[in-house]
Amino acid sequence: MAKALEPRVQSAQLPSIRGPERVPLTLNVNGRTFSLSVEPRRTLLDALRNDLGLTGAKKGCDEGTCGACTVLLDGKPVYSCLLLAVECQEHEIETIEGLARDGKLHPVQEAFVEHDALQCGFCTPGQILSVKALLEQNPEPTEEDVKRAVSGNLCRCGAYPHIVEAALAAAKKLKS
């Protein structure tokens, strides 16, 4: 988990986020800017799913324990159910939908398919983003590093051994 977001100075251009009415909001997701209007209490997860139609991040618990809602905020994995959408303006948000480029899977995604690092696939977007963040920070992770990186992503199907395998294989692939 990333540290709490830095408090942002309320600038004149930014709308009031007091609520309860909807407020206009700008989110930067997968390199594109989206304008939307949400109640200030809307979580980043709900904004991504319900307002932007990006349903790759899942709602498993809505209280920051399962990790199915993991997205990257400025490159760091966060539980999007624990952030309000209004706190995420001016941050770079990356979701699973942003990984594949021109129809080509990201090496971490490829490794997840090749090593069958999933069963039902519900937790998979979160697992992949946690691994991607790890590999960007640490290109040569040990098995223990991988386990720590995905320890906040529950998988009820028990794909864990294959997830670790896939992460290590992706690291190798990215290095070469």
């Binding site: 109640e39 899977l105 069963q119 519900f122 028990g158």
Partner: protein
């Protein structure tokens, strides 16, 4: 002409007689000659839908968003047993954004749970039972509105402990009493008394197991939408045809006006075998509002209301000769089925079937309590029962000073002890042998000696697995050959994460002689799918797989008939290979699509049906698991170091995905053994840990080194593919193997699951061996 026959079908350890309709030719099993030529079957194949699952493109029920869709959320009863005196929804209805509130005040009376209750009942029998549905523009508004509904409850006396619920003056969960069907389910063979008289030694114990929660990552839910008079439902379900039938009945609709779709599902594990109240509520709300309605459960509701593995109290008594041969087994189980039960629960399956024992009696008491209803949970009853049986077998081995593995081989069942029929195949001995080799069973005493210290003890344990998994009829499939030389496999089954789409594609490509990438499998939609059974009971591949092969063979034969005529090659000289016609004489190859250039849009449709299972044989799956653990005597912590899982489930179609299933079963078994436990407050009748924060499912860091292997032996008598199921087997023996390893490390047994630090420490403090009676 279709042929109707009567056959016996096994599901989750129970047998049912069914009539089935057979069509087409009987297929000959794929034998060893054919095996050698396989291009796809038996080869590790990454999932055909892997890219969808890793990119977020896979649409789960949670992800279905329709134009104008409203959100529905459910108000639930806070009391374990209560009657609604008054319900006032007016404030909620006035909240801006609220479109509808449904409750007993304004909803139709729809019988539920075989008439024991209704969709909106005024008597509520567990904390978490449905009271009202709020439908609004946004999820957040639903939660605001739920707070505004005023309900006056008259609390009623309640009971949550199944043993107390059987006492004469216990509060009644249902008018008919707390014992399901008024009597235990009893099974007997031989003469129990005589069996115990003949015994040289007798061991006895009382085992307790916890209620376990499925915690599928995707909570239960539905999206309902009316297209004119046709109801379309996306449901997170293991049984689209079952949901269709149930919803049609609840709403009085013809089957052809209900369409149920489920493409991707975030786990089920037995808890999604039927429609939920949420399904019918979504349909009703969609009709009343004229808008699509999504009703999803949150994690708390999921853990209160969607099912659980029942807790058990099991008394087990074994009698044996000095050489280890069993002479008698008595097994009594009290199972906490909660407020409702679709069928009786049972923990005695493995006891009846695993070992050859002539004198035996089992009694299963399914007891109603004021807790959430139980449901199937991956190998229902067998996980609980195997823990007790295999623990007791180890106690017997200890008393007789026999190697636990040797004791099991002494009682190896060569024929099924219930039906007295031989097995089609039984690879349990091979599993024992291979597992023992992989864990280092022979050298375990040396390892224990060198590894154990003053404060840490190492132990080894093992346990066996028996399960059904034969699959059977009815299951149907179609295979279409499209004019561009691609094939579409159509079934009404569902892929619940086990890799069904991939395995069926492998089978169809193999039977057709097509490249795998030209085969697409369609499933999960009642509208165009042909009937397939629920994806449960480890039955999907063995039920649907043979139907797909039959349909593909039919399509292939038709294609060859047509191809021979168009290409003017004698029929007996033409064959199909990798999507091309091959002329045996000239060796000339012609792509399949070539003939369609002349035939315009002619479409071939192959049909296939699953034939019956053999009547004179038993079909079962088997396996053995071995565990090595380290127990910290100061903290009571059990660390599982290694699990070896070797299973026999017939032919392996996809070694890659089967390993995923084995790992998954072992890991769920590990959670059941060590950390997972629904906790109830008996004074308030409430579940106190219905969240993922407090109910501990394993994380990646809890997972030991797991070695998973299959005894790959095609079972040609079982069905023409030689396959059996593997979904449930790997969870069955894990907890038992771990418990036996812990007992081996400690020198005495802990009779209760999960093996948490407090239980291990208390057992250490008590010091002397117990038979489980003092566990409270």
């Amino acid at each position: 002409m279709p042929k109707v026959i009567k056959t016996e079908v096994e599901f989750e350890g129970r047998f049912y007689e069914e009539y089935i309709v057979l069509e087409g030719e009987d297929l000959s099993p794929w034998g060893p000659d054919r095996d050698r030529e396989f291009r796809f079957v038996g080869k590790p194949q990454p999932r055909v839908d892997g890219p969808e699952r890793v990119t977020g493109a896979a649409k789960f029920t949670h992800d279905i968003q329709l134009p104008g869709m409203l959100y529905g959320r459910i108000l639930r009863c806070p009391h374990p047993h209560a009657r609604i005196q008054r319900i006032d929804t007016s404030k909620a209805e006035k909240l801006p954004g609220v479109r509808l509130v449904l409750s007993a005040e304004n909803a139709p009376e729809i019988p539920w749970r075989m008439g024991l209750t209704q969709l909106f009942d005024r008597t509520l029998r567990y904390a978490g039972e449905e009271v009202a549905l709020v439908v609004a523009d946004e999820e957040e508004i639903c939660y605001d509105a739920l707070d505004l509904i005023e309900v006056e409850y008259e609390p009623l006396p309640f009971v949550v402990d199944p043993v107390k619920a059987l006492e004469p003056n216990a509060p009644k969960v249902h008018e008919s009493g707390n014992l399901l069907n008024g009597a235990p389910e009893v099974y007997e063979r031989g003469d129990l008394e005589k069996g115990f008289e003949e015994a040289d030694v007798v061991v006895e114990g009382v085992f307790r197991t916890q209620s376990a929660l499925h915690n599928c990552m995707e909570t239960h839910g539905s999206v309902a939408h009316w297209e004119g008079d046709t109801l379309v439902i996306w449901d997170s379900t293991q049984h689209i045809f079952g949901v269709r039938a149930q919803v049609a009945q609840a709403l009085g609709l013809p089957l052809n006006r209900v369409r149920v779709i489920k493409q991707y599902m975030g786990g089920g594990f037995g808890s999604k075998n039927a429609a939920g109240k949420y399904t019918v509520m979504a349909a009703l709300a969609a009709r009343r509002t004229g808008r699509p309605v999504q009703v999803l459960l949150d994690r708390f509701e999921e853990n209160l209301a969607t099912g659980n593995r029942p807790s058990t109290v099991q008394t087990l008594k074994l009698g044996a000769k000095e050489d280890g041969r069993l002479t008698a087994i008595y097994h009594k189980s009290i199972l906490n089925v909660g407020a409702y039960a679709a069928w009786p629960a049972s923990a005695s399956g493995p006891t009846k079937r695993l070992y050859s024992c002539p004198n035996l009696k089992t009694e299963d008491y399914s007891v109603y309590t004021n807790l959430g209803p139980f449901s199937a949970f991956r190998a229902p009853g067998y996980v609980e029962g195997t823990f007790a049986l295999e623990s007791m077998m180890d106690e017997l081995a200890r008393k007789l000073n026999l190697d636990p593995l040797e004791l099991r081989l002494k009682n190896y069942a060569e024929i099924d002890p219930i039906t007295n029929k031989p097995y089609t195949t039984k690879g349990l001995k091979q599993a024992y042998e291979r597992g023992a080799q992989l864990i280092g069973w022979e050298k375990r005493e040396e390892v224990k000696k060198t590894r154990s210290t003053k404060t840490k003890r190492v132990g080894f344990g093992m346990a066996s697995q028996i399960w059904g998994g034969s699959g059977g009829p009815p299951a149907y499939a179609l295979v279409k050959i499209n004019p561009d030389g691609t094939a579409t496999v159509i079934t009404g089954t569902q892929d619940i994460g086990t890799g069904t789409r991939t395995a069926l594609a492998q089978i169809a490509a193999e039977a057709l002689g097509f490249p795998l990438e030209r085969v697409r499998v369609e499933l999960g939609d009642t509208q165009w799918g042909v009937y397939s059974p629920l994806s449960a009971g480890s039955m999907t591949l063995a039920s649907v797989g043979p139907a797909v092969r039959a349909a593909a063979e039919d399509a292939r034969a038709q294609l060859l008939d047509v191809g021979a005529q168009v290409l003017e090659i004698p029929r007996d000289r033409i064959s199909l290979e990798q999507g091309e016609f091959v002329d045996a004489r000239s060796g000339e190859r012609t792509p399949v699509q070539t003939i369609f250039e002349k035939l315009l849009n002619y479409t071939i449709v192959g049909k296939g049906a699953r034939g019956p299972n053999p009547e004179d044989k038993n079909i079962n799956t088997f396996g053995a698991q071995f565990a090595r653990v380290e127990v910290d005597l100061e903290t009571g912590r059990v660390r599982v170091e290694r699990i070896v899982a070797v299973h026999e489930s017939g032919r392996v179609v996809n070694p890659l995905t089967i390993r995923s299933q084995l790992y998954g079963g072992v890991i769920q078994g590990l959670g059941y053994a060590l950390t997972e436990r629904r906790l109830e407050d008996p004074r308030r009748g409430l579940v106190v840990n219905p969240s993922l924060e407090t109910y501990k499912v394993p994380t990646v860091e809890d997972v030991p080194d797991i070695v998973a292997e299959m005894v790959d032996m095609p079972d040609p008598e079982a069905n023409p593919l030689g396959v059996k199921g593997v979904g449930e087997p790997p969870i069955i023996p894990t907890a038992a193997a771990i418990a036996n390893a812990v007992a081996d490390a400690l020198g005495f047994r802990v009779y209760e699951l999960p093996l948490t630090v407090d239980r291990v420490l208390m057992a250490l403090q008590r010091g002397e061996p117990s038979r489980g009676e003092d566990n409270k």
